[in-house]
Symmetry: C2
Subunit: 231 residues, 2 copies
């Protein structure tokens, strides 16, 4: 048992800009941060390298990387297919290619499990309802429902702990997130946002995620340190 008197929080860390900022807010709000990166079969391993850089920069108490092979489920362009197929994959219609089925429920449930083991009552995540309005599990009502579930799901909740799901960026624009993070000393040159990096971790500049990031930095009035480095 360490003797850090600060309350503990579990922060989901993807290696992207939003989760970095959310974890920095957790730290600024006085928490001892335990960072959780879930490797759910992402196509881009450079996200993991970014998550490690971010965790180190945040000086988190611990950074845990957890493998969950969601690729076995099928149903998304964001997860590679490494599973043994015993049956034909079902077809999917009308779902955005980057949507991962029930992703935030899986991520939050894992964060909750670790929080309970750590005696932590606070979860932080960088979800945003502005840029991801099409994703059901990025809405405030979803997060409220998870908070209600967490109270019923755990010994701590049943015993009266006030489990809280913090999504401090949920209503912010990308520019507002960047301004908030820069103010907290975030070095966004450590992050990775691109869905289709050209080689190594160099952003393509064309995918949705790259364009969203570029607009955010432009509106915030900053130069993206990632482009400054690679350019």
């Amino acid at each position: 048992m360490d003797d850090d008197p600060a309350p503990r929080a579990v922060a989901l860390l993807s290696g992207g800009l939003d989760s970095y900022t959310a974890a920095a807010i957790a730290r600024a709000e006085g928490f001892s941060v335990y960072a959780l990166t879930v490797r759910y079969g992402q196509v881009h391993a450079c996200e993991l390298a970014a998550a490690r850089r971010v965790a180190a920069a945040l000086r988190v108490k611990r950074h845990l990387e957890l493998d969950v092979d969601l690729a076995g489920f099928g149903g998304s362009a964001l997860v590679g297919d490494g599973a043994v197929e015993l049956d034909q994959a079902p077809d999917r219609v009308g779902i955005p290619a980057t949507y991962v089925p029930a992703r935030n429920t899986v991520l939050l449930s894992l964060a909750l499990a670790w929080a309970e083991a750590l005696g932590a009552q606070d979860l932080y995540l960088g979800v945003n309802a502005v840029d991801y309005s099409g994703y059901p599990d990025c809405r405030p009502e979803y997060l409220n429902a998870f908070e209600q579930l967490a109270k019923l799901a755990t010994k701590a909740g049943v015993e009266g702990a006030r489990l809280r799901v913090h999504a401090p960026l949920i209503r912010d624009s990308k520019a507002a997130i960047i301004i908030r993070g820069m103010d907290l000393g975030c070095d966004y040159g450590l992050t990775h946002s691109c869905y289709a990096p050209v080689r190594h971790d160099q952003p393509c500049g064309r995918c949705d995620s790259c364009q969203l990031r570029a607009r955010g930095f432009a509106e915030a009035g900053f130069v993206d340190p990632l482009l400054a480095m690679s350019g």
Copy 2:
């Protein structure tokens, strides 16, 4: 895409008696069953062998085994510790040794993810509130909360799908579960219940789980086929 006209259900399968019975009920209720076994770092690998035997006996459409290393979180005697510790493990007080933090939330969220990818609206699990009254995530109010969450968490739910969490055994005694399963043709000689098997998959006969099972068979008026085989 297969041409099975039956609706699909995802059933959580552990290799134990309860989840086998719940999956058999799903099949009896007309579902095409997709069985999910989550390997969350259990000490006893023979549970997995049992899950495979049960899946084969049930002739499930597909049996998916998914690794999630909950052992990295610490906090339970039921999961081995295979994680790299970057910090001291926190101490735990007042939690039963066999309680796995937020376990059912993790299992249900994974089942939900697969269900969404499959276009399934029904989840089956063998939780029981009689034998596991000390576990917060085995109570009906918890399962209701998860059902509410599932509606908000997924595209399917938002689009009006009636996602349902079926826990058909939740109020049954072990004897009642056994009688129900025998009636459905379950071969309980395929299952594994023991927390501390002597060697291979031979039950110890002394642990809580063995004693619960023995009392169940006695009250149901059946001989446990597992004991008949090994004895």
